[in-house]
Amino acid sequence: MDLSKAPNPRKLQLCRTYFLTGFAFLPFVWAINVCWFFAEAFRKPTYPEQSQIKRYVIYSAIGTLFWTIALITWIVIFQTNRAAWGATADYISFIIPLGSA
């Protein structure tokens, strides 16, 4: 879909929908929102809805950042402690790496 042809209220509505959808454990949607509306929020000449779009974009960016950090932290903790946690760790492992012979 082409944002440049969309009227401003529609942009705001889309941005808000993407932002609200992101709360359903969907940081990827937030990331899309940031990438998609970044130019609208910061590069375009001002229009009435822009301040709200800007707010949603910033919040989405914060959310994405938070999720990224959280996910990386979790992965690092899990992978470093996997052997130590024993059966529990094996139980929640999707792929257990094979050792090389």
């Binding site: 082409d2 042809k5 949607v29 492992s93």
Partner: protein, 546 residues
């Protein structure tokens, strides 16, 4: 893979059948209507008329001058720029247009090459890195014969029987789709498409992720995997079936096509895959080109209704189908109508022979929901009706949610006025007894397209089924581990695509994209693996290159 995966994969295959059934239908140029319009004008307009039009174009409404008699002249036919965007009048306009057509054609060839190549690249890379997709151990429901016998003759009839079964499934699915489309069961079709893309984006992506991680020996825990799957799938559903950035949508469509191709490569027995490729291209040929072919009916119905074929089935090089939903603003009933200077009335002269497909449409359209048409058009139509003093069928269209509007196009409403004008001309010409033989045509003022320029209209669309089967061919060729064959197939398919696009530019109608490409691909594949490869091996064994 356990047994309960098989029905799901078969269902997805059914979905892919539909994809495939769409394949040929997809590809058509969007230009012909406007071009026809222009040619009509050029045939019957004179220079002074053109000037008048231009004046009208700048002055605004021409409703005050409704009765204009146009004399047909033998001089160089001037051209009216229908959208106000493309080319000014000139003596070499025709050549210019041809040139422009070639230029845009070339651009679109490139625009299609990139996604097709990307799709094949994904498939080939997967085949070469993940051995899971290389071996067939579980079979689809549609292929009951498993080609386990070493005898070539038994394998041959197994493959033929399997492909026959698969093709009949494809035919039945296509006809079902056509019936649903004809009956306007859009909800059923959308539900079907959403279900199939849901399965591809969640279940098959899950399998893909698992095999990918296993192949590269990357550790991962379930919470992370579930989070990734959830994010990937939901974002894909949003961007395919709702609104999303164009690039993301195209990327998801390419990925879905590649995944479907991998499913075919994985679950079809070897000879069956080749037989299916041959059979599907023949079916594509029949379905698109024969007079009662289902895909032809589909394309014609879609053109008649001025709708786009469903976005989940078609890769479009531009934003056509998602464009619609953005244009309705509840806050502004008349988005560009009064403010935009280019929204002026241009004079459109049309022949009476044009209206065969348009006239019954508004009458029937009133009964069903017509999402995606703005109130502006309706109002505009009413004002026009009032101005012309002609009784028109005015009908209320329901404005549904935006998610429904995604499947429909601005074009329908844009052409509405055109069709109205056409009908009026028809009525008047039959009333006055002039008929179509007359050289004098009344020009009827019809507001032109409300959007002054729509460069997106020139997009070329390619069905996802074409992506899938191109990729199946290349992937199957690469599964033998021979890069010469793979690259030969790749080049052959792209050449076939080029030829198809060339024919498209010549004939300007929907064409099947599979036959030429697949024929070339099959010939090149077997010729390369049977002739070129031994030859090259011989050459390198004898060290001719050194």
């Amino acid at each position: 893979m356990d047994e309960h995966d098989v029905p799901s994969s078969s269902a997805a295959a059914a979905a892919a059948d539909v994809d495939d059934s769409q394949s040929g239908a997809a590809e058509r140029l969007e230009r012909p209507p406007r071009r026809q319009q222009k040619q009509k004008i050029s045939n019957y307009g004179s220079n002074e008329q053109l000037e008048r039009n231009n004046a009208d174009h700048t002055d605004g409404p021409v409703l005050a001058v409704p009765y204009v008699v146009v004399r047909g002249t033998n001089s160089q036919p001037p051209r009216l720029s229908a959208g106000g965007a493309d080319g000014g009048p000139g003596p070499s306009q025709q050549e210019l247009e041809e040139e422009q057509g070639l230029k845009y054609g070339a651009q679109h060839v490139i625009k299609l090459f990139v996604p097709v190549s990307l799709c094949m690249l994904v498939v080939v890379a997967t085949i070469n890195s993940i051995s899971f997709y290389n071996s067939t151990d579980v079979y689809l429901l549609y292929t009951p014969f498993h080609e386990l016998s070493p005898e070539p003759s038994v394998k041959l009839w197994n493959a033929l029987a399997n492909s026959l079964i698969l093709m009949s499934v494809v035919v039945v699915m296509t006809i079902l789709l056509i019936v649903l489309y004809k009956k306007r069961c859009y909800r059923v079709i959308h539900g079907w498409l959403i279900l199939s893309s849901f399965m591809l984006l969640f279940i098959f992506t899950y399998l893909y992720l698992e095999e990918l991680l296993r192949a590269y020996n990357i550790p991962m825990d379930y919470p992370t995997a579930v989070l990734i799957m959830w994010n990937f799938g939901v974002a894909g559903m949003m961007s395919i079936h709702w609104h999303g950035p164009l690039r993301l949508q195209q990327g998801y469509l390419i990925f879905v096509a590649a995944l479907m191709a991998l499913v075919f490569i994985k679950y079809l027995p070897e000879w069956t895959a080749w037989a299916v490729l041959a059979a599907i291209s023949i079916w594509d040929l029949i379905a698109v080109l024969s007079p009662r072919g289902p895909l032809r009916i589909l394309v014609e119905t879609a053109q008649e209704r001025n709708e786009q074929i469903f976005p989940a089935l078609i890769y479009s090089s531009t934003v056509i189908y998602t464009y619609m939903g953005t244009h309705y603003t509840p806050e502004q009933p008349l988005p560009t109508a009064t403010s935009s200077p280019s929204y002026s009335n241009s004079t459109t002269t049309t022949r009476t022979t044009q209206n065969s497909l348009a006239s019954p449409e508004p009458a029937t359209g009133g009964s069903t929901a017509r999402p995606g048409n703005s109130r502006a058009h309706q109002r505009q139509q009413e004002t026009q009706a009032a101005a012309e003093g002609m009784p028109l069928v005015t009908f209320k269209r329901n404005l549904h949610g935006n998610e429904e509007a995604a499947g429909f196009t601005q074009e329908w409403s844009a052409n509405l006025n055109d069709r109205v004008a056409r009908r009026q001309i028809e009525v008047q010409s039959t009333q006055s007894g002039n008929g179509r033989l007359s050289n004098e045509y009344r020009t009827v003022t019809a507001p032109d397209q409300p959007q002054p320029e729509l460069p997106e209209e020139r997009g070329i669309k390619l069905g996802l089924g074409d992506f899938i089967f191109y990729s199946v061919l290349v992937g199957k060729a690469s599964s033998y581990g021979d890069w010469t064959t793979t690259i030969a197939c790749f080049v052959a398919i792209l050449i076939g695509l080029c030829l198809t696009l060339l024919l498209l530019a010549v004939w300007r109608k929907a064409l099947p994209a599979l036959p030429i490409s697949i024929t070339f691909g099959l010939i090149f594949c077997f010729a390369t693996s049977a002739v070129v490869k031994p030859f090259m091996e011989n050459l390198s064994a004898k060290q001719v290159f050194i």
